[in-house]
């Protein structure tokens, strides 16, 4: 199947008229390089960079604007135009539209969820193309976070900040259930046992682990790979490998928990914030979220309630550490000044301490994690002391893979299917998607 060239389309028989109309406006064929930001030949003269972040405007504007103006001062002739997109889910729509229209930003905040597709289609630069020595750049960053942006051996992104789930729990409910608030569960058997006890003694659910959200699509992969220790993909990356007996047994626990009420039902179709809300309302005792959620809890509960919440390390699973999440910066191919863009991306990553002081997140730059600030409180300690792992496949169709997994998880949790059937169906769906080679 050869790519359609505009000329071929025009010759295309009965579709001549339609194709003519369409190609006249250059809709067809995706990346029609940008024509705006005139007069900014790379290297010399004034440079204008467009910089996209996700959901940082509300609450973090002074930080972003301050960091940008410092960069502009240090680099005379460079101006940064900052655009903040309100929601993770819409970043992709906006970016796709911008790329089709040839109006891309120069530096864009991405997630491991969308990067693989953009990398696979050549819509973003591999950093190798922009700098001779990526190895020395890589050395500056947290290895786990850096690795999340390496696809087929090539680095595509500069880590901004990451987040590893911790255990956040309600000490009051622990106390009422006769559990020791100073000894939170350390592995999943203990989590399930504690959850049952809490439900039995207090009527509240033991924990919530939400599935239905774009933002925390890491949860299904964490349940399989982190908690049950099942690899998501076969070693060659061509087949699903998660339908192991351990994974089935583990998912079975979840299904039982939802049925019996010791796992909160919000897990089935709630998102991150629905889980946080249930915790804030005292209806569940544990959530597994990044410590940044504390900022939200503090903003949304009274001081008395907030005191009940405590942070501990994430319970250890069969696969080791919990699945992480991160934000990183990529440079779209349509950028006129990709080298300057890379420079700015690296600069911006280096300012993350200021952000971390407002919302506890893990810095992409390794040396920043050594700042004494991270030793100051339990929630910041948890961030730097936990290992970061990314289990999800760095595959272009990762969003589709996870949608399939989520659907089957929901079916299992609702009792529509046995856990075994759900995982097998999910594996079949993964094999089909992987075979399509998107």
């Amino acid at each position: 199947m050869e790519p359609i060239q505009r000329r071929n389309l025009l010759r295309g028989g009965s579709l001549i008229l339609v194709a003519g109309m369409v190609s006249a406006c250059g809709v067809f064929g995706g990346t029609s390089g940008g024509t705006d930001s005139p007069g900014s030949a790379s290297g010399s003269g004034p440079v204008s960079l467009e910089f996209w972040t996700i959901n940082l405007k509300e609450g973090y504007t002074p930080y972003i604007e301050g960091a940008i103006s410092r960069y502009e001062q240090d680099n005379p002739g460079t101006t940064i135009k900052w655009v903040d997109i309100p929601d993770f889910e819409q970043t992709q729509s906006k970016l796709l539209a911008a790329i089709s229209g040839g109006a891309t930003p120069d530096v864009v905040n991405m997630t491991p969820f969308i990067l693989p597709k953009f990398a696979a289609t050549g819509a973003v630069y591999s950093l190798d193309e922009l700098t001779p020595d990526t190895a020395s750049i890589a050395a500056e960053y947290n290895p786990g976070l850096w690795d999340a942006g390496v696809i087929d051996g090539k680095p595509y992104a500069i880590p901004f900040y990451g987040s590893v789930s911790a255990l956040i729990y309600n000490t009051e409910l622990f106390g009422k259930a006769g559990l020791d608030p100073d000894k939170p569960p350390a592995n999943w058997d203990e989590v399930f046992a504690a959850a049952k006890k809490i439900h039995e003694k207090t009527g509240a659910s033991g924990f919530v682990q939400t599935l239905d959200d774009f933002d925390d699509a890491g949860n299904p992969s964490d349940i399989l790979a982190g908690q049950a220790g099942a690899p998501l993909l076969s070693p060659d990356g061509k087949k699903a490998a998660f339908a192991t007996p351990e994974a089935v047994a583990h998912l079975e626990q979840y299904a039982t928990g939802v049925k019996e009420g010791w796992i909160d039902r919000t897990s089935v179709n709630g998102g991150v914030m629905d889980g946080a809300k249930v915790l804030a309302q005292g209806k569940t005792a544990m959530v597994f979220l990044g410590p940044w959620i504390l900022r939200w809890l503090e903003d949304n509960t009274d001081a008395e309630t907030f005191k009940k919440f405590r942070v501990a390390v994430h319970p250890e699973g069969a696969g080791g550490a919990a699945n992480g999440f991160l934000q990183h910066f990529a440079i779209p191919k349509a950028s006129k000044n990709p080298k300057q863009a890379l420079d700015f991306a690296r600069y911006f990553s280096s300012t993350v301490l200021e952000l971390a002081k407002q919302a506890p997140v893990l810095p992409g730059v390794e040396s920043i994690a050594e700042d004494p600030y991270f030793q100051s409180t339990p929630e910041t300690k948890v961030i730097v002391e936990q290992e970061v792992k990314f289990y999800w496949p760095k595959h272009p169709a990762v969003a589709e893979l996870f949608a399939a997994l989520r659907t089957e998880f929901q079916a299992a949790l609702l009792g529509d299917k046995t856990s075994e059937a759900a995982l097998q169906d999910a594996a079949r769906e993964w094999d089909r998607i992987l075979a399509n080679g998107q």
Binding site: V27, E58, V83, P86, F88, Q90, A98, W296, D302, A303
Partner: protein, 282 residues
């Protein structure tokens, strides 16, 4: 000539009907009252179980905070401009075409109507990407017209349909008299008929205003400059994962809804006035 003679209902049916409408009203405004009540709550009271209907300790802090975010005022103004512009463009274009479709028999009119109708059933996501490219080609990104023109177009057939029915339903005698007087179609439209379709015009206007005011996907995709965002986009800054503080969301929601309430209250007399009564005065 207001309709509705008093006492059309007996005491029993009146009580039953008022009870039914009362319950319906509670369902209708319940969520809004909840929002209003939340907007006056202190941060810690939002999650109280059982829910508090009247805040124990009402505060205006949320409004102060939300309105104090400099951009919110800008979003608000943008939304007003965008919604008003969209209504103006949409209703004027639709009035002309509705008049043509309702009063003229011209070649291709059926085809035109069907094509237009088909535009009403295309799901927006299906055309969003090519629409972006088209709008970009016209240089309308970062320009409020980039929201106004496509939104007016997407909802155009709604108004055309309403106005075609309205113009088509006017008595032929009006037109015959106009023809005898040697009146041009333009004169007939503007002088004679337009005043008679005030109610349908107002219906289209409020429908389109409401739809535009609520639109959140397109303005986000097409605008790059924060200063050009509308309130439905700006709202999402407060509703997103990291920031969904309900007492703030509720306050901005109330702010975002107020103008539409006011516009409805102002326009509503047009819906309920007797249109034809007006026509017979002249």
């Amino acid at each position: 000539m207001r309709a509705a003679p008093r006492g059309a209902f007996g005491p029993i049916s009146r009580t039953v009907v008022v009870a039914i409408l009362g319950i319906a009203s509670v369902v209708a405004v319940g969520p809004m009252l909840w929002l209003v009540s939340t907007s006056f709550k202190d941060r810690g009271d939002v999650f109280a179980v059982p829910p508090e209907f009247i805040p124990a300790d009402p505060t205006l802090d949320n409004y102060a905070y939300v309105w104090g975010q400099a951009d919110v005022q800008q979003y608000f103004v943008n939304s007003l401009l965008v919604s008003a512009g969209t209504v103006l463009l949409n209703v004027s274009a639709a009035a002309l075409l509705g008049f043509a479709l309702g009063r003229f028999r011209f070649r291709g009119r059926r085809l035109l109507f069907l094509l237009g109708l088909s535009t009403m059933v295309i799901p927006f996501p299906a055309i969003m990407l090519p629409l972006f490219v088209a709008t970009k080609e016209m240089g309308l990104t970062d320009n409020l017209l980039g929201i106004i023109i496509p939104t007016a177009a997407i909802n155009l057939w709604l108004s055309v349909y309403i106005l075609r029915e309205a113009f088509g339903g006017l008595p032929d005698e009006l037109e015959e008299a106009a023809v005898i007087d040697g009146c041009s179609p333009a004169r007939l439209l503007f002088r004679v008929m337009l005043p008679l379709v005030k109610a349908p015009l107002a219906t289209s206007a409020i429908l389109v205003f409401t739809l535009t005011w609520s639109e959140f996907l397109w303005p986000l995709v097409i605008m790059r400059d924060h200063a050009k965002f509308t309130i439905s986009v700006g709202l999402q800054y407060f509703m997103s994962t990291l920031t969904s503080n309900w007492h703030h969301i509720a306050a901005i929601a109330v702010i975002a809804s107020l103008p539409v309430v006011v516009i409805f209250l102002v326009l509503q007399r047009y819906f309920f006035s007797d249109v034809l009564a007006g026509s017979t005065k002249g």
